[in-house]
């Protein structure tokens, strides 16, 4: 009897260790709570997608890790516990990740949104401004007052790209449109976001959108005040059954799986991997009932043109706020230029600094 138990134990231990050997450990680090219903939530949805669609992967994550030396300690701890692929998902993690990556050349790092690489560190992101441009088209077709409102956290390139793309999209179908920007100086301050939405609406804006952690706050105020809303980061249509137009949302899962697979089979490339509408890493949500069939078709036609590269969001002419030409007609901004964007386009009301 004893022998049987011992054999059973031995085989089960063997089974566990065999399984453990085949599993790849993947670690995620988030700057905020994964439950923010925004940026970190979207990254974590990617992690969950990976868990669901890959059998031989084990994931772990750390939330609320500040963008300082703390994140290096977290990464070191992950690596020592056997993590083979690390996803430092916040913009400010980049330099810390480069340091840790140099120390552990056998571990792979995939940083979200950065513009530097090393042998074992690549970056991934998605051109969500394409989706924001399309949402702008829907907004430009819908607005009656020709005033759009944008609630923005901080003037960093990613946010400026979205403000500008949204405005250019709206102007492409309605040249009269202007966008008012309110800065909240915080990624997450629900009270201030709600109050900013009120201020924009009483100032005449009838379509609201934004780039803060969670779209829920301004979408709910817009619905209560009877105006339209465009979501960002995650689908918030359930909060605005009447006024929801469309949203620009992330879909990281498939891209993350590709990255982990490339680390496993040796096809890893030290590159800037960028998804777009075509790869569906950034995409449009479903339309709300407030957008007519005809307008939906206009947006979808434009989406098609972007997908087969007949049309580029950042093709000139691009005018700055004061009317100066920033991109000449015939030129197009490069990926690097758009990811370092530091201006607002003509038709945007608001100050940068």
């Amino acid at each position: 009897m004893k022998k049987v138990i011992r054999t059973l134990l031995a085989t089960s231990i063997l089974a566990i260790s065999v399984q453990a050997a085949a599993e790849t450990k993947v670690g995620f680090i988030y700057v905020g709570p994964k439950s923010d219903y925004g940026y970190n939530y979207a990254q974590d949805q990617g992690r969950l997608y990976m868990e669901e669609h890959m059998d031989d992967v084990e994931t772990l994550y750390f939330e609320n890790i500040p963008e300082n030396a703390d994140v290096q300690r977290v990464m070191e701890r992950m690596v020592r516990s056997g993590v083979e692929v690390v996803f430092p998902t916040s913009y400010g993690y980049l330099d810390h990740a480069l340091k840790v990556a140099e120390k552990y050349p056998d571990v792979h790092f995939a940083h979200s949104g950065g513009l530097k690489t090393s042998d074992n560190l690549m970056t991934y992101f998605a051109e969500i401004d394409q989706a924001m441009y399309l949402a702008g088209v829907a907004a430009g077709l819908t607005t009656g007052t020709n005033q759009l409102g944008f609630i923005a956290a901080h003037p960093i390139p990613q946010v400026l790209r979205n403000i500008n793309a949204f405005t250019r999209g709206a102007q492409s179908v309605n040249p009269e449109v202007t966008t008012s920007v309110i800065w909240t100086s915080s990624w997450s301050d629900p009270t201030r976001e709600a109050e900013a939405a009120e201020a924009l609406i009483s100032g005449g804006a009838d379509v609201l959108t934004g780039h803060v952690d969670s779209p829920i706050n301004y979408v709910q105020v817009a619905e209560r005040r009877g105006v339209y809303s465009v979501g960002y980061h995650a689908d918030a249509s359930q909060f605005a059954p009447k006024g929801w137009l469309v949203g620009a949302i992330w879909n990281w899962g498939p891209m993350m799986i590709d990255i982990v697979n490339s680390a496993k089979d040796g096809s890893w490339k030290s590159e800037h991997l960028r998804g777009d509408l075509l790869t569906e890493a950034a995409k449009l949500s479903d339309f709300g009932s407030a957008v007519s069939e005809e307008d939906q078709q206009t947006v979808l036609d434009r989406q098609k043109a972007i997908m087969n590269e007949e049309f580029r969001v950042w093709a000139g002419p691009v005018f700055g706020q004061d009317g100066t030409v920033i991109v000449e007609e015939g030129d197009t901004m490069t990926l690097e230029e758009t990811e370092k964007m530091d201006f607002l386009v003509q038709g945007v009301q608001g100050r940068l600094k």
């Binding site: 439950s35 008012s180 915080s186 201020a199 952690d213 600094k353």
Partner: protein, 310 residues
């Protein structure tokens, strides 16, 4: 002219909306400090109240139950402060900071499953008689119940504190515990009640944010407003009536920051973002000129807190 009046009223009511949660905390904390206890943990109590209120509103479908649960959550967490300070004689500043951090952590942990839920709101005064009042109706209509309750709390607290015997003993406890003791009463009872009342008001303030105002729960959503309220208690000179202008000052500067941006005023947004802190600070400095000797109405018992912390 009418445009100007409309914009001014919009700003005033926006200020009232922003000020309400802060006002509730100022009232509660002023009452706590009137008994000689300072509680820096109100921010944590607000957060736990906000999370509990939102969770209960989401599960039961009744936002009013959420508001009640938030009040109880605020009281429950304030009891941690009471046990540490009154029971164990712990340093009040340290205990308050512990409660602040505890409230932030507990609310983040237990609030996670409720993120992204949709709840019913408490409604507003639209479609009642007030929304038919000419000109003012459009501003009075969107007023929500938590604003009214908080405003009504001002005279209620004032009558209790200045017109009742219990209120007198409450105040005397804050000036000198010996007086209360010599009158044959236990000062600890009053301080316990005072901490619990502060808990109730901060829990309610959390509900005003999460259940009423934004109808949303986000980790850390109070964004420092509880701590601002502790500072505004000094601006309000521990007086419930002065709490209203003090909180409105904060609310108005908050509303002005956003309003000026929507008007397209050519001032740096970084500078505008400092308004909610700069304006109350300036008022504090100006209004306390000449008040230095009297301490601006600070309960004498409070000074002991700071001396023992040395």
């Amino acid at each position: 002219m009418e445009y100007f009046a409309t914009e001014l009223l919009t700003l005033l009511f926006a200020a009232l909306r922003s000020a309400t949660p802060v006002l509730a905390v100022v009232l509660g904390e002023a009452m706590t400090q009137r008994s000689g206890v300072i509680n820096l943990g109100v921010e944590g109590q607000m957060l736990l109240g906000a999370m509990t209120g939102f969770a209960v509103a989401s599960v039961t479908g009744d936002p009013w139950l959420g508001v009640m649960a938030a009040c109880f959550a605020g009281i429950a967490l304030s009891m941690v402060h009471a046990i540490l300070v009154l029971g164990c004689g712990a340093n009040q500043i340290a205990s308050g900071v512990a409660v602040l951090i505890l409230g932030g952590g507990l609310s983040a942990y237990y609030g996670t499953p409720f993120v992204g839920d949709k709840i019913d709101t408490l409604g507003n005064l639209n479609h009642t008689f007030v929304s038919d009042i000419p000109l003012l109706g459009q501003f009075l209509g969107p007023i929500t119940p938590t604003v009214l309750i908080t405003l009504l709390a001002i005279p209620a607290i004032s009558i209790f504190l200045f017109r009742t015997r219990t209120g007198l003993r409450w105040r005397s406890t804050g000036e000198s515990q010996d007086i209360t003791r010599n009158l044959g009463h236990n000062p600890v009872h009053y301080q316990l009640a005072a901490i619990a009342f502060g808990g109730l008001m901060s829990g309610f303030a959390g509900a005003a944010l999460a259940v009423d105002y934004t109808a949303n729960w986000v980790e850390g959503m109070t964004a420092g407003r509880g701590l601002v309220a502790v500072g505004l208690v000094i601006v309000a000179r521990w007086n419930p009536w002065y709490a209203l202008p003090a909180a409105l000052l904060f609310g108005a500067s908050e509303a002005l920051n956003l309003k000026l941006q929507s008007w397209g005023v050519n001032i740096s947004p970084y500078l505008l973002a400092t308004l909610p802190y700069m304006i109350p600070l300036s008022v504090l400095m100006l209004s306390y000129r000449g008040l230095r000797a009297s301490g601006g109405g600070m309960p004498a018992g409070l000074s002991v807190v700071f001396q023992s912390a040395r």
